[in-house]
Symmetry: C2
């Protein structure tokens, strides 16, 4: 197979852009020219010569000598304009922008066919962990029961801090912000949006459904209190933010993002700080676990480089599960056992517990453990932020039709 000579136009020179530059410069096996780097901020001092930069995106998008656009900017709307224009202009694209891919997934898949170009985005989910490529290539013919994991480094860093050092959420968040693991507006991370976007991308390659992220329930860690950590510790659990997607029957899947109790004998228990981890359960390969750094310029940059390299070999996603079309339905009619910490009985009633296995009432907080329906959680999604509650998936099996893999 012959390798195409790559002339790259790069958008963005932040943490990941610079990480990519480092990785590319150190790579022995592979040379690609970064012809031009498009950035936004005229005043920012850059660590390489200013002749490398432009402030005009058309200098890259309209340059016929550039055959690959690498998009690493923050702004998802602008990223979408850049990526789609590049594709229309016949350029292949590599991106790490999960929000952009998740929000326009179907359109971006169709455009690849229409304009006969390749769009790769391995770095958009799980950073250094090659999960998308493995789902696309390796689990091609496997009956995948479910996939779950830790996909957001920011919340995992905060939860690790809270657990290890007994500090409150606000303090752990502040530390994460100071260390550059959290944005000044942490909403996307701590409320579970980021994990959801990644989950939706994974779902496209795991099951062939390109879901609208608005259809998927997400809940983050903003409301976690010391009582929740205390409860978890007493029971031998850690709390992790765990996106889940899995089959409810032959042709139907469900998915959601929820905090989850993790016991010490589980793979995810030792996935701490900015690390990510993914567990797949499949009919024949059985349980598999991948773990690696989920954040940081170099880890993400190495995933971007892997896409750039694959591109030079002519690689493109085939969307094999979509082609197969085995899974055609998405449902939120799915039972979950959850821990609900709350204050007000009126709040609890809203959740419509179908079964209750434990109930506790104390001076500082109350909790209930029981079975609820995901559909109900979804219906409450706008109100949850206003209630003094915290929800954790126990991960325990409910009655069928929950698949065995949810155990």
């Amino acid at each position: 197979m012959t390798r195409e000579k790559l002339r790259i136009g790069l958008f963005g020179y932040g943490c990941v852009g610079q990480g990519l530059h480092d990785v590319l410069n150190s790579s022995k096996g592979f040379k690609a020219d970064i012809v031009k780097i498009c950035v936004k901020d005229h005043r920012k001092k850059r660590r390489i010569d200013m002749s490398n930069f432009t402030y005009d995106k058309d200098e890259i998008l309209n340059d016929p000598s550039i055959n690959l656009v690498v998009e690493l900017i923050d702004d998802a709307d602008e990223a979408f304009r850049i990526v789609t224009t590049a594709m229309k202009n016949g350029k292949n694209v590599v991106t790490a922008n999960k929000m952009m891919v998740a929000k326009h997934f179907k359109e971006l898949v169709e455009m690849q066919g229409k304009y006969k170009v390749s769009l790769l985005y391995e770095a958009s989910a799980g950073a250094s962990i090659p999960i998308i490529r493995n789902l696309e290539e390796y689990y091609d013919n496997e009956l995948l029961h479910s996939l779950r994991g830790i996909l957001n480094g920011t919340t995992n860093y905060i939860l690790t801090k809270m657990y290890n050092e007994g500090i409150p959420y606000a303090e752990a968040l502040k530390e994460a912000q100071e260390k550059g693991f959290a944005e000044s507006d942490p909403t996307l991370d701590v409320d579970g949006w980021d994990a959801k976007f990644k989950l939706c991308i994974i779902t496209g390659h795991a099951y062939g459904l390109f879901l609208n992220p608005d259809e998927v329930f997400h809940y983050g860690i903003r409301a976690i209190s010391k009582f929740d950590i205390q409860y978890a510790k007493e029971k031998g659990f850690k709390i992790k933010l765990v996106p889940y997607v899995g089959k409810t029957n032959e042709n139907t899947i469900t998915s959601f993002v929820l905090p989850r109790f993790i016991s010490a004998d589980k793979y995810l228990y030792n996935v701490d700080n900015e690390y990510n981890g993914v567990i797949t359960e499949a009919a024949f390969a059985d349980k598999q676990f991948f773990s690696g750094k989920g954040a940081g310029g170099h880890a993400t940059g190495s995933a971007v480089l892997s896409d750039i390299s694959a591109n030079s070999y002519g690689y493109r996603y085939e969307y094999k599960k979509f082609q197969q079309g085995t899974v055609s339905n998405y449902t939120r009619n799915h039972k979950l056992e959850v821990y609900l910490r709350y204050k007000d009985e009126k709040d609890r009633e809203l959740f419509g517990f179908e079964e209750v296995s434990e109930y506790f009432s104390g001076k500082f907080f109350k909790y209930v453990i029981g079975v609820i329906n995901l559909e109900r959680l979804y219906a409450l999604r706008e109100q949850l932020g206003q209630m003094d509650v915290f929800i954790v998936n126990t991960g325990r099996k409910t009655d069928p039709p929950t698949p065995p893999s949810e155990g």
Copy 2:
């Protein structure tokens, strides 16, 4: 990309062959015809109709309508004859035979080029874990410091039994044999041959060197005693059989198979029973961990199916690291800190300890912990089986030039 219609000739219908048959029958996304199955034993009753079988290998090898040979027999020499004849006849081949691939690695790589056919063998190392494909595709441009892991399910099952139930080696081995995890002659597994063959295959894709397995030091678990387990438990370790390959400098690698102490905070600690696990350490992606079932018909069959499917898309290994040629030297001049349990001081002297950090002498056994050279271990390889000793890699750093990844 168009998919080629596959007409498969299958060699072997044991555990993995039947596993593959199950996996193939359950796969929704992919149809391939098994045209004929070649087996050896005329008298054995088969679970499917006898019209599927032949005892004459030429019925497959000389059938021009068969475009893929899947080789899943035990006998490495016969496997080599089948695989090379198939390749010469222009057929693509999928195999799970690690001994065959490791012993003839270079020749098999050259034949793929010469006869323009593809040979895939993902199932030969780590069974269900897609390690070869990831090394080939994903770590293509990464500066890989090292790779280590648990690659032999039989020894891991035995070590898990001994640790959890306090039973002696002979009893654990017997149980493994009864459960089908160990052969009646367990030599290949318990003496570390199997792990070494897998390590050599991995080395080809991780660093581009096709080593003669005879050049690589291996040592197994046959000599382990209750004293070694007791020592490990007191220190909070488990003992695992861990093949290692890593850089000693820019263009040189070393490799070996040795038991290793694993502390509870390490990924490999929880890889028990027939599970396998692989840790990679790389310059930019940092530490990554893959785990999954390392044995069993269905787990191995699913890796074989993944190769069959990749084949239908025209996939072949590019041997990218070999093409890059960055690593050109192999050395055994490498310092290791080991635990040596022994009886006779004369035996100990043979190891030429360069530094000793601990020494213990008791009624039932003695041990010493110190630094030795891998070259010396290799020189002793024929005598080790006759000595009353057991060797465990502590995994602790020695002085440079050992790379930091060996820590």
